[in-house]
Symmetry: C2
Subunit: 218 residues, 2 copies
């Protein structure tokens, strides 16, 4: 598929803008685990996920992490271009959770088109609103939900994404998704196991009782 299939506003661009994007964008392969963006003001440009999966997260001064959203096929990564956006004064890190193929529209190209195209600026606005909505969801989870509910929600989500009942994740990784500490996750997982909802073994968590897990999550 070509880049235009991934950009919903393609038809609202001028021929010149389309040509500029086509000639200057490139495909890039990110191996699983690649850290695309860390807290150092890099500006990779505007990324569109072709295949794979990216995780956006923030990090505490002590190195704790919390996932703020994930990007899948056709999703667009705005914060890899946050240098272009006035008033964005926070740092988001992004890593590839799977081998990931992306389209990269370099920052200066996107910036130049945004400066002249109402459609692109409006589109950027809508993307930011989507990510803002994602972050507000996480914030509400953190504020109003207990960690056992959040863990249950996360396990169900992960099972849907991976399309399996057996998750290959360490307790440390789960803690980094939820902004928690490994020991807390381990303790809660053990209590879920005691209640028959999951079975834990080295490096895997198998979901045994979806219904019970769902009723905990709600």
């Amino acid at each position: 598929m070509t880049l235009e299939n991934y950009l919903p506003i393609w038809d609202e661009l001028t021929k010149e803008q389309q040509d500029m994007i086509t000639s200057q964008s490139m495909q890039k392969r990110l191996e699983k685990g690649t850290c695309l963006l860390s807290n150092d003001k890099e500006c990779h440009g505007f990324l569109i996920v072709e295949t794979g999966q990216l995780r956006a997260y923030i990090t505490s001064p002590e190195g704790r992490e919390i996932t703020i959203y994930r990007l899948f096929e056709r999703d667009i990564c705005l914060f890899s271009a946050s240098c272009m956006m006035k008033n964005i004064q926070f740092e988001v890190s992004i890593t590839a959770e799977q081998d990931t193929q992306v389209w990269v529209i370099p920052a200066p190209v996107y910036q130049s088109i945004m400066n002249s195209s109402l459609a692109v600026t409006r589109f950027t606005n809508e993307l930011m609103a989507s990510r803002f909505t994602d972050v507000m969801w996480v914030m509400e989870q953190v504020l109003w939900n207990s960690m056992d509910k959040r863990l249950a929600t996360f396990l169900l989500e992960e099972s849907t994404i991976e399309e399996t009942d057996t998750l290959h994740m360490t307790h440390e990784q789960i803690a980094s998704h939820l902004g928690s500490a490994r020991e807390v996750v381990t303790r809660l997982l053990k209590s879920l196991q005691e209640e028959g909802m999951v079975r834990l073994s080295r490096g895997t968590i198998q979901i045994l009782d979806y219904e019970k897990l769902r009723s905990l999550a709600d």
Copy 2:
């Protein structure tokens, strides 16, 4: 002062757009305590604070609150117009913390100009990025800082805003700013009092030791 003094992009508007805004906007007085926006999808339009102070917050299903940002003179309230913004899928409540005078640009007027003006769409984008940054700051506070640090930060902030060392606030109000429970705030305030940082009396909190409070906050 007229409306144009409050809109940094005034000069980028066409004469027609300026006339449309001038003729259809109005000034509105909000008494202290007025709830401008609750969780019911009202769409007041684009608000600009002339004098006074607004508080934006989110609410849990059980009625707990947390302040996500505050708006002062010349600040612009974006979420009072969130009906105009595609992909904003969360609810923000707004109340007047002081008697507040605002300019209101009705939603259809702003929407119509945003649909044709790159400058206005870009400006909206920058406003959203500012509010996004505010929310990320709150999220980091909630995630990585203990409640006693956050309380100290809040008391210092409030003292700066009110320009006094004696704050007239209930523990309940402070809890609603911080997304906490009244009992937690009461317990922490008592411990600050024991350490000589504040003096508590009925309905007031007097800051006695700014330096000590600052070193707790940092």
